[in-house]
Amino acid sequence: MAKLSAFDPALAAPADVLPAQPSPGYWKAVGQRLLRDKVTLAVTAILLSIIIIAIFAPVFAIQDPLAGSVMRRLKPIGTEGHWLGTDETGRDIWARLCYGARLSLIAGMTPVMISLVIGGFLGVTAGYMGGLVNTMIMRTMDVFYAFPSILLAIAICGLLGNGLSNAILALSIVFIPPMVRISETVTTQARHLDFVEAARASGTTTMQIIRYHVLSNVLGAILVYATSLISLSIILSAGLSFLGLGVTPPQPEWGLMLNSLRQAIYVQPLVAALPGACIFVTSMCFNLMSDGFRGAMDVKLNK
């Protein structure tokens, strides 16, 4: 077992087996995978058009969503001047759906964003710190888990009074516990990986490790989960409005419209179903999109 003292160039030069192509970059690769996924592309296109319609509602809907007339109550789909019909007070359904998309999307997305920031922070803290901090945060969240989400939202809304901002606040509180749980789980997994230990061994401080190594590895999973929560949030906020706890009439909002058109279900069933269809399509699209993103952002499903 003599020591190899001379450096054999044949041994010392490593075989360059893999082509040394510069990588396209993480986000570029994600984009390329998304482009190949037709379903995700389609639902993203639908969502984008809904968002564009919501933003430019005055352009798409010429009618005033609040102006009613007893003369034009409950017209069927295809009526002249009201191609999607009118509601029980003669307001144009198309105009109300367009403007309603604004409130529904706001009520759907804002709580998710708020809970993403607060829940994500708590979850990553709990996951990284472990021990007592983890126990305190997670057990507090477990208390919230004891209530079904819609019941908790109704209770908080009932406590705060109705109105859009209170509904958003209630839903944010409802979404924080699952967000904490998801981010805690992925952070705990990431924390025990070798590269976090390697980063500690190379003198990286805790804050830098969280910011640089942990966040970049857990953000994908948390974002995908947040996207899937948007659909739930739209449905829950529509539910709150339906119960009279969220947006107040005569504001156009899909859940509220569904509630008021409910009485006309035997007169104009198709018109009455339209807000429900909007809620269904939007939440479905968010769900499918989050599925697509999960696939595209996973390094292991690569290629």
């Binding site: 077992m1 490593p14 360059d16 590269f195 390697a198 980063a199 061994a201 830098q208 390094v299």
Partner: protein
């Protein structure tokens, strides 16, 4: 002994005890060694003998329930007693570590260049572009071909050997004086293994780095090290130069290890095994930890710790059968 100033790392009476609710686990039970610049020490031992724990203790990487005593002096200051902020400064810049599994030890979402540059920026506060330039030099230093392009590669786009080279480059980023290597070649195939060993050896000579290398592979130990320490149940049972340990085999455990390994000297013979299994670290026997498996066990072995028999500087055997006079005869 060499004068103290020559030693850049001195470990004295290092013990690690894992305190858990179910009881204590004694993973490292009094380890002593010291290293000079450019010297390579291999800690040889089987799984669970405390090799990796020794390294992690020296980096302060053990979890809170680990109770570490003793001293690990790096350039005169005791790492084990440093406050966390000081420890962070020492890690990476003075003592650095490479890991067994290069895929897991590199962050999958950053390119190799970004990771190395990030470490340099943190310690030296230089600009990102200057750090990138240094990262390129480091990749060239660990002989990664077409280094400039590799800089922009993600870990999963590289082969195992290449990743381990990148890992070494990352560990060398802030020119540490001591490198701790935790089985860095175990996950690699044999031809790549020897390349990595040669590279480490070369770097230690060129940069004057002391290297503590941990392995269970005797062949690897013989290849890379100046000195070998054979570890069993948290203690060094035999230390010495490669030649001494390989040839003299003063401790029965060393003899057993060599007899159970394929090498040229054994041509035509059957391989032997060491009967039994290592003792549980939660309940170590009162006497010699190897006694239950030892062929030449005596009554004194079971009752008390065997004596440490010195054979000159850095060479010792922890066995009742080792007789110092025989060595000099």
């Amino acid at each position: 002994m060499l004068p103290e100033t020559d030693k850049i790392i001195e470990v004295e009476d290092l013990t690690v005890e894992f305190r858990k609710r179910e009881g204590s686990l004694f993973a490292v039970n009094g380890v002593n060694f010291s290293l000079a610049r450019g010297e390579v020490l291999t800690i040889l031992g089987e799984s669970g003998s405390g090799k990796s724990v020794t390294l992690k203790a020296m980096m302060g990487l053990l979890p809170g329930y680990a109770h570490v005593t003793g001293q690990a002096r790096l350039n005169g200051k005791n790492i084990l007693a440093l406050p966390p902020a000081e420890l962070t400064k020492v890690r990476g810049s003075e003592v650095s570590m490479i890991f067994q599994e290069p895929m897991a030890a590199l962050d999958p979402v950053y390119t190799i260049g970004e990771q190395i540059a990030e470490a340099i920026v943190q310690h030296e506060g230089i600009s990102k572009s200057a750090a990138m330039k240094r990262a390129l030099e480091l990749l060239e230093r660990v002989s990664i071909p077409s280094a400039a392009r590799r800089l922009k590669n993600y870990p999963h786009e590289m082969s195992g050997g290449m990743r381990q080279r990148a890992m070494i480059a990352l560990a060398l980023a802030c020119s540490p004086t001591v490198l701790l290597a935790d089985e860095p070649t175990t996950a690699l195939d044999v031809t790549v293994q020897i390349q990595i060993l040669l590279l480490l050896r070369q770097l230690s000579e060129e940069l004057g780095m002391a290297v503590v290398f941990v392995t269970h592979d005797i062949g690897v130990a013989a290849e890379i090290s100046d000195r070998i320490a054979v570890m069993y149940a948290g203690r060094f049972v035999e230390t010495g130069t490669v030649r001494e340990v390989m040839r003299e085999r003063r401790h029965p455990y060393t003899a057993g290890l060599l007899a159970s390994t394929v090498h040229g000297g054994l041509r035509g013979q059957d391989l032997e095994t060491i009967p039994g299994a290592p003792p549980s670290l939660a309940a170590l026997p009162p006497g010699c930890a190897f006694a239950p498996r030892c062929r030449s066990v005596q009554e004194t072995c079971r009752s008390g710790q065997p004596p440490v028999v010195d054979f000159g500087p850095g060479t010792m055997v922890r066995c009742v059968r080792a007789v110092p006079q025989m060595a000099f005869a």
